[in-house]
C-alpha cells in the first residue's frame, strides 16, 4: 500500500514519519512523488489552515491521477472546533471534489500536543516548577483526559496553546536538556513515547481521537 499523507506542519511531519512505521512496519517514507514505488509513505506538510485546504485539494488530485497511490490520509488539529465538526469540515472538502478515492481523516483532537500529554511517564510526581504545580492543580493530565484540557485564561492561552505550553513544562521538568517546539518535536521521536501514548488510550480510554491515527495506516 502506498500512502499519501497530508499534515499541518513540519513538526507533525517529523512525528508521523517516526510513528507511522510503528503502526505499519511495512511502510517506508519517501521524499517525493516520483520516488513512490511499493509500501511507501509520502508526507506533505500543508503550512497550516486555511492554505491547508488547497493542499488537500491538490492531494486528492494527486491520489486520483497517480495509479500507484492507494490512500490519502489527512491529519488535522481540531483546535477550537469539536472533533465532529472538524471531521465534517474536512469530509466536505474532500467530497466536494467529487472524486472516488480511499481516504482517511485523522482529527488530532484538539492538537498533536494533546496526544503527547497522554504519556504518563513524562509527568513528575512532585514538580519543582511553580507554574507546573499550578497547571497540575488546574487540570491534572495524569488523571484526566487531555482531550478535555481547557484554555488557561490567566496566561491568555487557548487550549491548544496551553497544551503546547503544558507539554513543554512537563518535559523540561523531567528531562532538563530536552526541548520541545512545534518545529522540532524531538521528545516525541522515540518508539517508547509512541507506545506510552498508545497505552494511555488502551488502558484508560482517554485521547480517543488517537484511534484515528492507529486506524489510518493499516
Amino acid at each position: 500500500m502506498n500512502v499519501y499523507l497530508i499534515v499541518e506542519g513540519h513538526g507533525e511531519k517529523k512525528v508521523y514519519a517516526h510513528w507511522v512505521p510503528l503502526v505499519n512496519p511495512s511502510l517506508t517514507v519517501v521524499n517525493s512523488l516520483d520516488e513512490v514505488q511499493h509500501n511507501n509513505l509520502i508526507i506533505y506538510s500543508g503550512g497550516g489552515y486555511p492554505h491547508y485546504i488547497e493542499v488537500i485539494e491538490a492531494g486528492v488530485e494527486d491520489v486520483v491521477t497517480n495509479e500507484q497511490l492507494d490512500r490519502l490520509v489527512i491529519a488535522i488539529d481540531s483546535e477550537e472546533m469539536s472533533y465532529k465538526d472538524k471531521r465534517r469540515e474536512i469530509e466536505q472538502v474532500v467530497k466536494a471534489l467529487g472524486k472516488n478515492l480511499d481516504y482517511k481523516i485523522i482529527v488530532q483532537h484538539f492538537c498533536l500536543e494533546t496526544w503527547a500529554l497522554g504519556n504518563k511517564t513524562i509527568v513528575s510526581r512532585n514538580p519543582k516548577d511553580i507554574h507546573l504545580r499550578k497547571y497540575r492543580g488546574y487540570f491534572d493530565v495524569l488523571t484526566k483526559d487531555p482531550e478535555f484540557l481547557p484554555g488557561y485564561p490567566a496566561d491568555n492561552l487557548n487550549r491548544s496553546q496551553f497544551a503546547a505550553h503544558y507539554l513543554r513544562k512537563l518535559l523540561n521538568e523531567k528531562y532538563k536538556n530536552l526541548t520541545y517546539t512545534k518545529r522540532n518535536p524531538h521528545a516525541l521521536l522515540h518508539n517508547k513515547y509512541f507506545e506510552r501514548v498508545k497505552i494511555r488510550l488502551q488502558t484508560t480510554g482517554h485521547i480517543t481521537s488517537f484511534n484515528d491515527f492507529l486506524a489510518a495506516f493499516v
Binding site: 513540519h10 517529523k14 521524499n31 517525493s32 512523488l33 516520483d34 506533505y44 503550512g47 494527486d62
Partner: protein, 378 residues
C-alpha cells in the same frame, strides 16, 4: 550578465558556494541561514572592489560574464598573508559570444608576473585586480562595465533610511543638464528617492510617468503623485531650505502625503520601481528579501515587472514568499542548501521534472523537499 559564478572564501571565511549557472532572472530561495544573503554579498563586494579599487578582497572567484559581444571568463585568487594583500593568480580571457573559437587570453597574472595580451607589463599595484588596473583598455572595458553596474538593494533599516532622506538636488540637476549620458548619469548619482523623482520629472518625464503609473497600479487608492519643493522639516540633518519632496494624493484624504509619511510598503515599492526603470542596460540588480513587511498587493506586481524588464537587466532576488515562489517559473529558482560552510545550489530545472508529477503548488513541494528544509525523515 554573470552567466556562471563560483566563490570560495579564504582565511577566516571559508564558505564555498557551488558553481552555478545564472539566468537573467534568478529567484534565490533556501531556508534561513542557507547562505543566500552571503552569496549576493560576495557578488556585490567583488564588483565594488573592482570598481573602486579597494578594499582588497581575499577570496577565490571564478565567473563567466556575457556582454553584448563577448563571453569573458575571470578567475581570481586573492589572499592576505601576515597582513600583506596578495593576488596569487588572476586570469581573464574572452571570445565572441556564442562562438566556438578559442578564448583569447587577456590577463595572466601571478605575484611576480603580469602579462596582458601576451605582453609582460611592468610592476603594477600588487593588490588591485587586473580589471581595475586595466579598466581603460578597450578589451577590458566591457568586463569592467559589467562590474560597474551591479546594484544591491537591501531593505534593512540603514539602507532604507538613506534612500528616503531628503536632499537638495540642485547640483544634480545642473550636472544632468550638462551630461550627455542620459539616464545613466542619473543612475550614477544615486540620489535619494524624493530627489530622484524630482530629477526624473524635470529631465526624464517619460521615466517619471512610467514610475508613477506603475506605482498607482500597485496602489489603486493613489489618485495622483507630485514632486514639490518644500521646506526641509529636518534641518538638523540635511541642508536647510527647500528640498524636493515626493507626495501622493489618496482618495478620501484632503492633504497630499509626503514620502516619509507613507507606509514602508509603499516606500519600498516606489524604491524598487524607480531603481529598476532607471537601471542602465546590462545592469545586475540584487534584491535581498524584498517581501519583509509587505502585503500581497506590494508583492504580486514584482514577477511581471521583473520579466518585463528582464531583457536588459539581470536580477538576483532572494525570497521566502510563497507567492513569488509560485509565480516565478521554476527554471528561475536557485535553491540553496548549506552543510557547514559548504553551500550546494540546485537550479530550478532540476525540480521541474521532480515536481511536475504532483498537483501541489511549487512552494508546497519546495518546503517539503529535504534539500530545502534540511529535514531528513528516514
Amino acid at each position: 550578465m554573470i552567466s556562471s559564478y563560483y566563490y570560495h572564501g579564504r582565511q577566516f571565511e571559508d564558505w564555498d558556494f557551488e558553481e552555478t549557472e545564472l539566468n537573467k532572472v534568478n529567484l534565490i530561495v533556501g531556508a534561513s541561514g542557507s547562505g543566500k544573503t552571503r552569496y549576493l554579498n560576495t557578488i556585490f563586494n567583488v564588483s565594488s572592489s573592482i570598481v573602486h579599487g579597494q578594499p582588497f578582497r581575499p577570496g577565490y572567484w571564478r565567473l563567466t560574464v556575457k556582454t553584448e559581444e563577448y563571453e569573458y571568463q575571470w578567475e581570481y585568487d586573492g589572499v592576505k598573508n601576515d597582513g600583506e594583500n596578495q593576488i596569487k593568480k588572476e586570469f581573464v580571457k574572452r571570445r565572441h559570444l556564442d562562438s566556438q573559437e578559442a578564448f583569447e587570453d587577456l590577463i595572466d597574472r601571478s605575484p611576480d608576473n603580469f602579462v596582458f595580451c601576451g605582453t609582460k607589463l611592468p610592476k603594477l599595484q600588487h593588490d588591485r585586480p587586473g580589471i581595475t588596473l586595466l579598466k581603460e583598455e578597450e578589451k577590458i572595458v566591457p568586463l569592467y562595465e559589467t562590474f560597474s553596474k551591479v546594484q544591491i538593494r537591501k531593505f534593512h533599516d540603514e539602507g532604507l533610511k538613506d534612500a528616503l532622506s531628503l536632499q537638495d538636488a540642485s547640483n544634480e540637476l545642473i550636472n544632468l543638464s550638462k551630461s550627455k549620458d542620459g539616464i545613466l548619469a542619473l543612475w550614477k548619482q544615486q540620489p535619494a528617492l524624493s530627489a530622484k523623482m524630482f530629477l526624473l520629472k524635470e529631465k526624464f518625464p517619460q521615466y517619471y510617468k512610467l514610475a508613477v503609473d506603475t506605482f498607482e497600479r500597485v496602489f489603486p487608492s493613489i489618485k495622483g503623485c507630485d514632486v514639490q519643493m518644500l521646506k526641509n522639516p529636518d534641518i538638523s540633518i540635511q541642508t536647510p531650505g527647500m528640498v524636493p519632496v515626493f507626495l501622493i494624493k489618496e482618495e478620501k484624504i484632503d492633504r497630499k502625503i509626503p514620502l516619509h509619511e507613507l507606509s514602508s510598503g509603499m516606500q519600498k515599492v516606489l524604491l524598487i520601481i524607480t531603481d529598476i526603470i532607471t537601471l542602465p542596460k546590462g545592469s545586475i540588480y540584487i534584491i535581498d528579501e524584498y517581501e519583509n513587511s509587505l502585503g500581497i498587493n506590494a508583492i504580486d506586481f514584482l514577477p511581471e515587472f521583473l520579466v518585463a524588464h528582464g531583457t536588459d537587466i539581470q536580477f538576483l532576488v532572494t525570497t521566502h514568499h510563497p507567492y513569488l515562489i509560485n509565480s516565478m517559473p521554476m527554471k528561475t529558482w536557485r535553491v540553496f542548501h548549506r552543510n557547514g560552510s559548504k553551500v550546494s545550489i540546485k537550479g530550478g530545472a532540476e525540480f521541474e521534472e521532480k515536481y511536475g508529477k504532483s498537483k501541489q503548488k511549487a512552494f508546497v513541494q519546495l518546503i517539503n523537499d529535504p534539500f530545502y528544509s534540511g529535514d531528513e525523515l528516514q
